[in-house]
C-alpha cells in the first residue's frame, strides 16, 4: 500500500534514473548508512571491529569485485585469493618502500597493480570459457601464492615468510597496527567500501556494465550488436581485480596486520568469496553484501549462541557449526537458487501488493 512506485511522480530525468527510484528504498538505505556511520562507531570495540565488522566489510568488497566479474560478466574465477595476495603484497611493498606515502594512495595503487595482474590472467578468457576458464584462474591462484612465498624480495627477506603491516595514519589518525582505535579502523573501511560499492552500482547500470551483461548472456549476440569481447572481458577482469586487490590490501593492512601467503591467501579464500556471491546472488551488489554477511557472520553467531547461550562444549559447538553452515547453504539454495538478493527482490514485490494481494 505504501511501498510502490505509483504516486511517486518524477519530473526530471535525474530523479527518474536515480539509484533508488522509490522513496522508501532511499530512506531505508540512508537510514542504514546513518546507523552505520553515526551509531555503530559508538558501540564498536575490539571484538566487534576485528571479529565482526571488518571481516564483513572487507569480504563484501572482495565479493563485489568477484561479482562484477562472475555475476555481471559471466567469467568464472577461482583466483580471488591470489588476487587478494597481490593487493596485500603490493601494500606491504609500497608502504615499506615509501613510508611517507598516504595509506589511501597505497590502497588505490595496490588495487591498480592487482588490476594489471588481473588483466594478464584474464587474457585466456578470450579463448576459453566456463569450467576451463575456472581452471586457468585456478592456475593464477596457485602461481601467485607460490610466487610470494618463494621470492624473498616480496617478503622483504623476512626469515619466516610473515609480512607485517607497520602503523600508518591518515589525517593524524592511526588506521593500521595494534594501536589503531577499533572505531577508526571500522569507519575507514566503511567509507572505503561505501564509496566503491556506490561506484560499482553505477558502473553496472552504465554502458560498461551493460556490455558485461551482454557478454554474460550470450557472447556471440553481444559481438553482433557491436560489443568488443576483448574490451568487455578485459575491463571486467581489470575492475574486478581492482576491487579484489583493494580488499586484499585492507584485509592485510587494516584487519589482520600480519599474514603469511599460504594460510591467508590460500585456495580456501577463493572458494569462500565464490560461495559468498553464489549464496548472496550472482549479479547483484546487494547480494555481495548479504553473501559476505552470511558466510562471515553466521559461524560466529552460531558459535556464540551455542557456546555462550546454550553452554555447549566448545568442540561440540564447532562440529554443529560446520554441519549447520553446510545445511543452511543447501537449504537457502534450494529455497531460492538465485541467492539472498532474489529473496529480497521477492519481498519487495510482495510488499508492493501488501496488504491487498489481489
Amino acid at each position: 500500500m505504501f511501498y510502490r512506485e505509483a504516486g511517486q511522480f518524477k519530473t526530471d530525468y535525474a530523479s527518474d534514473q536515480a539509484l533508488f527510484p522509490i522513496a522508501q528504498d532511499r530512506w531505508f538505505v540512508l537510514a542504514v548508512l546513518f546507523v552505520a556511520v553515526a551509531v555503530v562507531p559508538f558501540f564498536v570495540d575490539d571484538y566487534w571491529a576485528n571479529a565482526i565488522t571488518l571481516p564483513f566489510l572487507i569480504y563484501a568488497l572482495a565479493a563485489i569485485g568477484l561479482n562484477l566479474l562472475t555475476g555481471y560478466c559471466g567469467q568464472v574465477s577461482l583466483g580471488t585469493g591470489g588476487f587478494m595476495a597481490v593487493g596485500a603484497f603490493s601494500t606491504f611493498k609500497l608502504t615499506t618502500a615509501f613510508p611517507e606515502l598516504n595509506f589511501i594512495v597505497v590502497i588505490l595503487l595496490s588495487g591498480a597493480i592487482t588490476a594489471g595482474v588481473g588483466v594478464l590472467f584474464g587474457i585466456p578468457s578470450l579463448r576459453i570459457k566456463g569450467f576451463y576458464l575456472a581452471v586457468a584462474t585456478l592456475a593464477a591462484q596457485f602461481f601467485l601464492v607460490w610466487l610470494f612465498n618463494k621470492v624473498d624480495w616480496f617478503l622483504n627477506y623476512s626469515p619466516t615468510g610473515q609480512i607485517s603491516m607497520p602503523p600508518r595514519e591518515i589525517f593524524g589518525i592511526l588506521i593500521t597496527g595494534p594501536r589503531a582505535a577499533p572505531e577508526a579502523k571500522y569507519l575507514f573501511c566503511l567509507i572505503f567500501i561505501g564509496i566503491f560499492a556506490l561506484l560499482a552500482k553505477n558502473l553496472v547500470r552504465g554502458r560498461v556494465g551493460r556490455s558485461w551483461m551482454a557478454i554474460r548472456d550470450m557472447d556471440i549476440a553481444a559481438e553482433l550488436i557491436g560489443i568488443r569481447p576483448l574490451e568487455a572481458k578485459l575491463t571486467a577482469f581489470a575492475v574486478s581485480s581492482f576491487y579484489v586487490g583493494m580488499a586484499g590490501s585492507l584485509y592485510f593492512g587494516v584487519w589482520l596486520g600480519a599474514a603469511e601467503p599460504i594460510e591467508a591467501f590460500g585456495i580456501e579464500q577463493s572458494f569462500l568469496v565464490l560461495f559468498m556471491i553464489i549464496v548472496g546472488g550472482l549479479g547483484s551488489i546487494l547480494g555481495s553484501f548479504l553473501g559476505a554477511a552470511f558466510i562471515t557472520l553466521m559461524p560466529i553467531l552460531m558459535k556464540n549462541f551455542m557456546v555462550d547461550g546454550l553452554q555447549l562444549a566448545v568442540v561440540t559447538a564447532k562440529h554443529i557449526e560446520i554441519t549447520m553452515l553446510g545445511v543452511l547453504i543447501i537449504f537457502f539454495l534450494i529455497v531460492e537458487p538465485h541467492g539472498f538478493a532474489r529473496l529480497w527482490q521477492i519481498a519487495k514485490e510482495k510488499l508492493r501488493l501488501w496488504p491487498f494481494p489481489h
Binding site: D46, Y47, N50, A51, T160, S164, L256, G257, L310, Q311
Partner: protein
C-alpha cells in the same frame, strides 16, 4: 550420538534458562586456545586435554591457585589464524580478571597476537614455538617463549648429529635435509641451519611441504634420490604421520630422522607401525603417566567425571606438554600473587610473575613432577629460559617414547646473534625502543 547432542542441547537450554549470576568471587581467567577439529586436531586434542586437566585438578584439589578458582575459557581455533584472532578478541576481556596469560599454540596466531597483546597488556606464552626472537625480553616485554626456541632446537639437532658422526668436524660434506611445514612455523629453523651449514660445512637441503601436508610423495622421492645423511622435520598435525609413513616406505633409517618436538608424539608414530621404530624427536619434558601429578589428575578429574579426554591417553607426550604449559602459567600466577601481595591478580601482574619465574627442581617435585623437566629461570632480558633440548626416541614394540640423551645446550655463537638481529629488526620496524634491563 544424536541422542547425546539432543540431550546436551536440552540440558544447555535449561542451564541457560536457569543460570543465576554466580557469586561475585574473584576468578582467574585462563583461556585455552584449542583445536579439536581440522587437520591439526590429532595433535591439538591431547595438548588441550593436558592443559584442561591440570587446571581442573587444581580447582578440585586446592580450590584453584592459592584458593582462587581458575575459570578456564576454551575457544576453538582450528589452528586457523583468523579464528584465533576472533578467539583472542573474545576472551581477552573476560571478567573478572581479563585473560591472565594467552597460549595460542600456533606460530601463525602468535605472530598475530605479538603486537596486539603487547598493546592490550596481556602476556603471551608461546611455549617452545612462535617468534624465536621474542626470547629478547628487552624488545618483547609481553611475549615469552621458554623453555627453548626453534633456533635452539635446530642448533641442538646439529650438535646431536655431530656427536653421532663422531665429532663436529665430521659434519663436513654431509647432507642434511629439512622437511618443513610451509608456513612461518616451518620456516623458523632455516636461517639457523643455513648458518650452521656455513660453519660446519654440511650441505643443507630445505624441502617444503604445503598445508595440510597429506601429499608428500614428491618430497620423499627427492629424499630417496638425493640420499641425505640425516633428515630433520618441522611438521604438525597430519603432516607428521604422513612423513613418518613415507620415510618408512622408502626405508630411510629412522634413527637418522629427527623431528622437532611438535613432531614427536604417539599420534605421529603409531600409524607407521613398526616402521617408525627408532624415530627421534626433540623434547623438553618426560613422557609417561608415572608422575605423582598424574595420580592426582586421575583421582580428582577422571574419577569425578570432569575430564574431556580418555583415561588411557593420560601421559602421552602432547598431554604432558599441555600439562607443563599449565604448570608454567599457574606458577607465574602464584608468583604474581606473592610479588604483588594480592590474590586478585591482573594480566600485568602475571607478566611480572612470569618474568620472575624461577621453577627449580625442588618446586617441580613439590608439584608432583620430579625429574619431569629442566628448571626454568626467566629474567628481564631472557624470555626463553634455559634453552636446552633433549632427544627422545620411539620404541615401536613397547609403544613408548623414552629420553635417550641428556639436555644439550644451544649453540650461543650461532643463535644469539640471530636473535639479536631479528629482534632489532622488529624493534626498528615498529618503532620500539628496547627497554633497559639493568
Amino acid at each position: 550420538m544424536f541422542k547425546r547432542i539432543v540431550s546436551t542441547l536440552v540440558a544447555g537450554l535449561m542451564a541457560a534458562a536457569l543460570a543465576v549470576p554466580a557469586a561475585s568471587a574473584y576468578e582467574l581467567v585462563m583461556p585455552s586456545f584449542d583445536y579439536r577439529t581440522g587437520p591439526y586436531a590429532p595433535n591439538g586434542i591431547p595438548f588441550a586435554n593436558g592443559y584442561h586437566d591440570y587446571l581442573m585438578m587444581l580447582n578440585e584439589r586446592d580450590g584453584g591457585i592459592e584458593g582462587v578458582p581458575v575459570k578456564l575459557v576454551q575457544c576453538e581455533t582450528a589452528y586457523n589464524t583468523k579464528q584465533g584472532v576472533e578467539c583472542y578478541e573474545k576472551v581477552k576481556d573476560t571478567d573478572p580478571s581479563r585473560a591472565l596469560v594467552v597460549q595460542p599454540l600456533s606460530t601463525g596466531i602468535t605472530y598475530q597476537l605479538i603486537p596486539k597483546a603487547s598493546v592490550d597488556e596481556i602476556p603471551v606464552h608461546s611455549m617452545g614455538y612462535g617468534r624465536t626472537s621474542a626470547a629478547n625480553g628487552k624488545v618483547f616485554p609481553w611475549i615469552f617463549n621458554f623453555p627453548a626456541t626453534y633456533w635452539d632446537q635446530a642448533a641442538v639437532f646439529v650438535k646431536y648429529i655431530g656427536e653421532k658422526e663422531g665429532g663436529m668436524e665430521n659434519l663436513k660434506g654431509k647432507k642434511i635435509a629439512l622437511v618443513y611445514h610451509n608456513s612461518a612455523y616451518g620456516k623458523e629453523p632455516i636461517r639457523t641451519l643455513e648458518k650452521a651449514a656455513e660453519k660446519f660445512g654440511f650441505e643443507f637441503m630445505p624441502l617444503a611441504v604445503d598445508h595440510p601436508g597429506q601429499e608428500q610423495k614428491a618430497t620423499w622421492l627427492q629424499i630417496r634420490k638425493e640420499q641425505p645423511d640425516w633428515v630433520m622435520m618441522w611438521g604438525w598435525g597430519v603432516m607428521n604421520q604422513v612423513a613418518i609413513k613415507e620415510a618408512a616406505s622408502i626405508r630411510f633409517p629412522m634413527d637418522r630422522f629427527l623431528g622437532v618436538w611438535w613432531s614427536g608424539s604417539e599420534n605421529d608414530v603409531l600409524p607407521a607401525g613398526d616402521g617408525a621404530n627408532g624415530y627421534l624427536s626433540g623434547a623438553f619434558h618426560a613422557p609417561g603417566d608415572n608422575f605423582p601429578v598424574h595420580d592426582d589428575i586421575k583421582k580428582y578429574v577422571y574419577d569425578n567425571g570432569k575430564a574431556l579426554g580418555e583415561r588411557d591417553r593420560i601421559g602421552e607426550v602432547l598431554y604432558n606438554r599441555g600439562l607443563i604449559a599449565a604448570v608454567y602459567a599457574t606458577e607465574a600466577i602464584r608468583n604474581a600473587m606473592k610479588m604483588h601481595n594480592t590474590k586478585e591478580v591482573t594480566p600485568a601482574m602475571v607478566r611480572d610473575g612470569m618474568e620472575a619465574l624461577d621453577l627449580t627442581e625442588a618446586r617441580l617435585t613439590e608439584l608432583g613432577l620430579p625429574d619431569f623437566t629442566i628448571p626454568v629461570k626467566i629474567t628481564c632480558d631472557n624470555h626463553a629460559g634455559p634453552r636446552k633440548v633433549a632427544i627422545q626416541q620411539w620404541d615401536a614394540s613397547a609403544k613408548k617414547w623414552s629420553m635417550v640423551t641428556d639436555f644439550y645446550d644451544t649453540m650461543n655463537d650461532i643463535v644469539d646473534p640471530l636473535i639479536e638481529e631479528d629482534s632489532a629488526a622488529y624493534a626498528a620496524e615498529n618503532n620500539i625502543k628496547p627497554r633497559d634491563c639493568n
